[in-house]
């Protein structure tokens, strides 16, 4: 698969169809990858496909100028479609190199399960229901469900929805929609007071790094409301009240754009369970407006459309 990807990518550059290739290269740590943005043919040889290509590269489409060939997993392709809907990306300027994905491995989960640091692990291989981990010549098998990222468990679109070139064979979705929703369901079962206490505690830990916003492909505003000083909506010091408001508003701003790709939760340095929020918002949009983010590039964005008869029960 990697060979095919490298071939296609260098062909695109050679033929002048794209100015840049955006993909994944090996990271500086073991079992990690880093985004690669290049226009050099030689660098294309370092493109990789493995179960550690975690980043959602759609973010770079709004930042890299010119025509771009982009490597996209199922979730990335949906973010790209959502950017096309918002006129942030011109479809003709993008060549989507689709990569069917059978789930991404969370190295932190593997480290915890085998009780070893990633440098001590020799090899990790995803083999369907099992993940084979080799430590010092000894092979341990872990259930795939235990080591995949939470958002991969409930993945409905492992094969890109929108692509120009598909590398490899499409993957069928075998995932159960209910999986990866446990935390949200648990919260829904609590009383409102307990839920508020839960979020109050979570946001008191927030250090205002805004990595969630920086990594989010749906957060493409040039100026974010948190940086506005007139009026100053949130204080520039860390207060849980303001951190909570920031996250609520961010979720509302990306409603209909958020594909629940889980990047915000992955990058959070203090591990706030942000996907319990995005998942809920995704579900609400689906349930109330029958709208699924990033599945139809010709559909109008959620907040610009309306129907005469909807959400009548909420308004007097």
């Amino acid at each position: 698969m990697e060979q095919e990807l490298r071939k296609e990518a260098s062909k695109l550059l050679e033929e002048g169809k794209v100015d840049y290739i955006v993909g994944f290269a090996p990271g500086s740590l073991k079992f990690s990858t880093t985004p690669l943005i290049t226009k050099e043919k030689e660098e294309v040889a370092s493109l990789v496909i493995n179960p550690f290509i975690v980043n959602n590269l759609a973010k770079f489409l709004t930042e890299v100028l010119g025509r771009v060939g982009i490597v996209a997993k199922g979730c990335d392709s949906r973010s790209i479609v959502s950017l096309i809907q918002d006129n942030q990306v011109v479809r003709e300027n993008v060549v989507i190199i689709g990569v069917p994905c059978s789930g991404l491995i969370d190295i932190v989960k593997v480290e915890k399960l085998v009780g070893k640091d990633r440098n001590e692990i020799d090899d990790i291989a995803l083999q369907g229901e099992k993940v084979a981990v080799i430590v010092g010549g000894e092979k341990t098998e872990l259930p795939t469900k235990k080591v995949l990222f939470d958002n991969c468990l409930g993945c409905e679109f492992p094969t890109p929805q929108e692509y120009d070139i598909l590398i490899g064979e499409p993957v069928d979705t075998t995932c159960n929609r209910e999986l990866g929703q446990e935390k949200m369901k648990e919260l829904e079962g609590m009383t409102p007071e307990r839920r508020w206490e839960f979020w109050k505690y979570q946001f008191s830990r927030c250090i205002m790094c805004y990595a969630c916003r920086q990594v989010c492909p749906a957060c493409f505003c040039e100026r974010c409301f948190i940086e506005e000083s007139e009026p100053q909506w949130v204080l520039p010091v860390s207060k849980w009240q303001d951190n909570l408001i920031f996250q609520v508003i961010r979720n509302i701003h990306v409603a209909g754009r958020c594909t629940d790709c889980g990047e915000c939760e992955r990058v959070c340095p203090v591990n706030i369970p942000l996907r319990s929020l995005t998942k809920k918002m995704y579900g609400l949009v689906n349930e109330m407006f029958h709208y699924e983010a990033g599945t139809d590039k010709n559909a109008p964005p959620l907040m610009t459309a309306y129907e005469y008869e909807e959400t009548k029960d909420l308004i007097r």
Binding site: E193, W199, W233, Y306, E310, R316
Partner: protein
Amino acid sequence: MESKSEWEPRIVGLLCKWCSYAGADLAGTSRKKYPANVRILKVPCSGRVDPLLILKVLRLGFDGVLISGCHPGDCHYQTGNYRARRRIALTKKFLEYMGVSEGRIQASWVSASEGDKFAGVVTDVTKGLKEIGPNKLFAEDGQ
């Protein structure tokens, strides 16, 4: 500390200037009785109501928000209230999930001729908020 019987909810009313604001005016000129708990702000359209305003109101310690605009199909700007509806519905449901009581964020459609309806809505909202109690959501601990 005020006792619960003396406590009166404070509500911010965000009213569309083309209909609900005039509706509230009509309720006044026709001498309708309704609780004086609502502080009215005029907005150019219910579509002006940013979810940030709703959160800001709660953050400032008000007990409830009432957003009121034109009936669907009657918007002065054609589609402002439809867009407001989606936004308000999402904000309301999402905040309920986070733990804000259902009654704190209320929305209604009141036209310029519905003074009666406005008085009724304010009465209902105030009654509902009295049951929910004071807004301590954003209060610091121990206050």
